[in-house]
């Protein structure tokens, strides 16, 4: 009997599902076969594994080696099976202790036998924890996978170390301390008091914000500072977001440090790039922005189909991709910030330059965003270029940390009111607002003067409720409604 079984896992969506790597070494013409629906990277493991085993002073069996990846109907992707296959071959030929097979092994091998990281290690770590098995990974991945509480990590640098059995359990210091130093600070933005106020409200209420202004007004600069005024991620949220980053092969460390992700896809982004897709399916920008901010600059320039694809994540907080090989679900709960020019040339309403656009063209440009998406934008704000003198005068502007504190307080207050998460609608929203005579009159007046639709009134109340939260007010008052009415959509 020269067989062995090693545990591993493969990524489907943002989860790692268990895969058993079965290795059989039997007499016959020398061959190395891998079966079980592996992609090219999996099949290429043969050459890497053979070279790595020899480079570390082991013998590669001169026999018929068959590797089966079970369950066979699931497609397996990537080079992460190098390590479990090598381990299986070594265990089947009794070159390493049998105890080494009692771990979830995930890693790519270099030809010299050293172990490398693969995308999605955080998901693999979570899967290992739920199977109550230790995780065998590259040493370089230790700081990141240590973020998963309760998982036993057995790091190694080379398969040569397996000769002595399973490596020792090790852990790295947790990276969970908010690191806002790398996030741009709001104090660097001079002037723009109204825009800063709007950012604060959007952050406090998790509201969608649209910034409209000429080129160079600072729309992007303002939007980039939103993640700095959002409260730090909770440990649970950080892990959720980090898993998505890990699966996409991006650095998960900043997210694990508590900083909310900020994603700003370019307007040429494809639908698959924005919401996820491809083969194997990869998370898109909306999922990378999970628990953070998705910033769509020049939003009318995005392809209409890509913008339409945002509807499901905006409504449900997750995204389901349906493909021939099955369906995968990605988390995607984010704050939407969009920016656009007031017209195609960008200078409508600019005092210094004349707009050259036909009026009909301006309407068409604005209509490109589309109704369903506009419905999710609660606040609209005009941003103008600032006076250079104000920029040179130096800064006495409030730092992000101070705003973040107010935002956290407002969020805590809204939670204390018994409201778990935005956006409430209908009766729940009305109850939360607890309008009195004056504020009710203000809502009616705003609806009449600005010809608000039903949805417009809902948005108005939602913004007013958030402003009241910032004031720590149990009920929405007239002044809150008045301010909220300034953030209605531009006609």
């Amino acid at each position: 009997m020269t067989q062995s079984v090693v545990a591993s896992s493969t990524i489907v969506g943002v989860e790692a599902i268990p895969v058993e790597v079965q290795v059989d070494v039997s007499p016959g013409l020398p061959a190395f076969l891998i079966v079980g629906l592996g992609d090219t990277a999996v099949l290429e493991a043969r050459d890497r594994v053979r070279a790595a085993i020899r480079a570390c002073g082991f013998d590669f069996p001169t026999a018929r080696v068959t590797v089966n990846l079970a369950p066979s109907p699931v497609r397996k992707h990537g080079a992460g099976f190098d390590l479990p296959i090598a381990l299986g071959v070594l265990a089947a030929t009794r070159q390493v202790p049998q105890s080494t097979a009692e771990a979830v092994a995930v890693g790519e091998l270099a030809l010299d036998g050293s172990v490398r990281e693969v995308p999605g290690l955080l998901a693999h770590a979570i899967a290992a924890r739920s199977r109550a098995l230790p995780l065998l990974v590259s040493l370089s991945a230790l700081p990141v996978v240590s973020a998963v509480p309760g998982v036993s990590v057995r790091p190694l640098t080379s398969i040569a170390e397996l000769r002595r059995g399973l490596p020792e359990e090790r852990s790295a210091p947790p990276v969970i301390a908010p690191r806002f130093d790398d996030v741009p600070d709001l104090a660097e933005v001079h002037g723009q008091p109204a825009a800063k106020r709007a950012l604060e409200i959007a952050a406090a209420g998790g509201l969608g914000l649209l910034l409209i202004g000429p080129p160079g007004a600072g729309k992007t600069m303002l939007a980039r500072r939103l993640s700095g005024i959002l409260p730090a991620l909770t440990e649970h949220e950080a892990l959720e977001s980090a898993v998505v980053h890990s699966v996409a092969g991006l650095d998960a460390a900043p997210v694990l440090g508590g900083v909310r992700p900020f994603r700003a896809p370019h307007h040429t982004a494809s639908t698959a790039g924005l919401v996820g897709g491809g083969s194997p399916p990869r998370p898109g920008e909306v999922s990378l922005a999970h628990n953070g901010v998705l910033f769509l600059d020049e939003i009318p320039e995005f392809s209409p189909s890509a913008l339409q694809a945002l509807r499901q994540p905006l409504e449900d907080g997750y995204l389901t991709l349906v493909r021939a090989e099955g369906r995968v679900r990605y988390p995607a709960r984010f704050a939407l910030v969009a920016a656009m020019n007031p017209c195609p040339c960008g200078y409508l309403g600019d005092l210094a330059r004349q707009c050259t656009c036909q009026p009909a063209l301006v309407d068409r440009y604005r209509a490109r965003i589309g109704g369903p998406l506009m419905d999710r934008i609660d606040m609209t704000l005009r941003v103008d270029r600032i006076d250079p003198a104000c920029m040179l005068r130096g800064s006495s502007d409030e730092p992000s940390a101070a705003v973040r504190l107010r935002v956290s307080e407002a969020r805590a207050w809204s939670q204390a009111r018994g409201r778990p998460r935005l956006p409430p609608t209908g009766a729940a929203l009305l109850r939360a607002c607890a309008l009195d005579g004056a504020s009710r009159k203000a809502v009616e007046a705003a609806a009449r003067v600005h010809r608000l639709s039903g949805r417009g009134v809902t948005r108005l109340l939602r913004v007013a409720r958030t402003i009241a939260d910032l004031d720590g007010d149990p009920s929405v008052e007239e002044k809150h409604v008045l301010e909220a009415s300034c953030y209605r959509a531009l006609q």
Partner: protein
């Protein structure tokens, strides 16, 4: 269509508007649909297609005032000020002439279709020097402006940039010896530069109803027996106020940030003050996001 009363007027023949025949380059033929008797001397009200609410409100206000005096309002049915003036004149029970840069049976601009249909069905008239079915073209509009000036006795420019098609109409008016009136605008706003330039060049500024009626009378558009004095019921256009926010906004359309910095307010305070004025109808948010004066509702 039975309601479609088309007519063709030739220069020198009966029915051709006399005031147009006396201009330097009158059109040889005038194609029209609607009530041909509307082609009497009137007041042309013109302005920018990219009008601000201020321009639109001024156009509507003065058109209404003229219509109430029985003066025909002549314009080009273009987007913005032209349409605002013609719609207001019809609403006030007056008559109006639309001069197009395409065949008189073409709906251009498309958004003016309802206005043009109302005029064609007898509330006024739609005329053009271009034959039936001729599509609009860039070169047609300066020629159209010449007819607007030619049909009128006075031309009121409510809002115009520099240079602009509106400004060219004023030039045609001067060439034809018509009175040119202009509504002044902010000296800081490029969209008002045309009007302010016209005033500088000698156009009569129109700031209130009395100014307008004076000018209409001088142009011979009001009958000799029309009393020239303005009654006590005359509505005042200018708003009086001591509220610094309102004063700032009435003086010139202003962005919120400017308001916050120049008045030293907190952003939230400024927003609340503006929203209050807005819901009272004292100021309006312009399509570009600035706040500015508007007609009291």
């Amino acid at each position: 269509m039975s309601g479609d009363c088309r007519f063709v007027l030739r220069l020198g023949e009966d029915g051709y508007p006399a005031q147009l025949a006396m201009t330097p380059r009158p059109p040889r033929t005038l194609y029209g649909i609607g009530d041909a008797s509307t082609l009497c001397p009137g007041l042309a009200i013109i302005g920018s297609r990219k009008a601000t609410p201020y321009g639109l409100d001024c156009a509507a206000w003065f058109a209404r005032r003229a219509a109430r005096e029985g003066v025909v309002v002549i314009s080009g049915a273009a987007m913005g000020c032209d349409q605002a003036a013609q719609r207001a004149a019809l609403e006030a029970g007056g008559r109006s002439v639309a001069v197009l840069g395409c065949g008189a049976d073409i709906d251009y601009p498309a958004r003016a279709r309802d206005l043009l249909d109302t005029l064609r069905s007898g509330a006024g008239v739609v005329v053009s020097e271009f034959p039936w079915g001729m599509p609009p073209a860039r070169g047609h509009f300066p020629a159209r402006n010449r007819i607007i000036a030619g049909l009128s006795s006075a031309v009121l420019v409510v809002e115009a940039a520099l240079p602009s098609g509106t400004f060219s109409t004023a030039d045609h008016a001067l060439e034809a010896g018509r009175d040119v009136l202009a509504v002044p605008g902010s000296v800081f706003f490029s969209g008002s530069a045309g009007c302010n330039r016209l005033i500088r060049q000698g156009a009569a500024p129109v700031c209130c109803d009395e100014d307008l009626l004076d000018s209409l009378w001088a142009a011979g558009l009001l009958g000799e027996d029309t009393p020239r004095c303005i009654g006590a019921d005359d509505e005042r256009l200018a708003t009086e106020s001591t509220d610094p926010v309102l004063r700032a906004i009435l003086a010139e359309p202003v962005a919120l940030d400017r308001l916050v910095t120049s008045l030293g307010l907190d952003a939230a305070e400024a927003l609340r003050a503006v929203a209050l004025l807005e819901s009272a109808g004292a100021v309006a948010r312009y399509p570009d996001g600035r706040y500015g004066p508007c007609m009291r509702r």
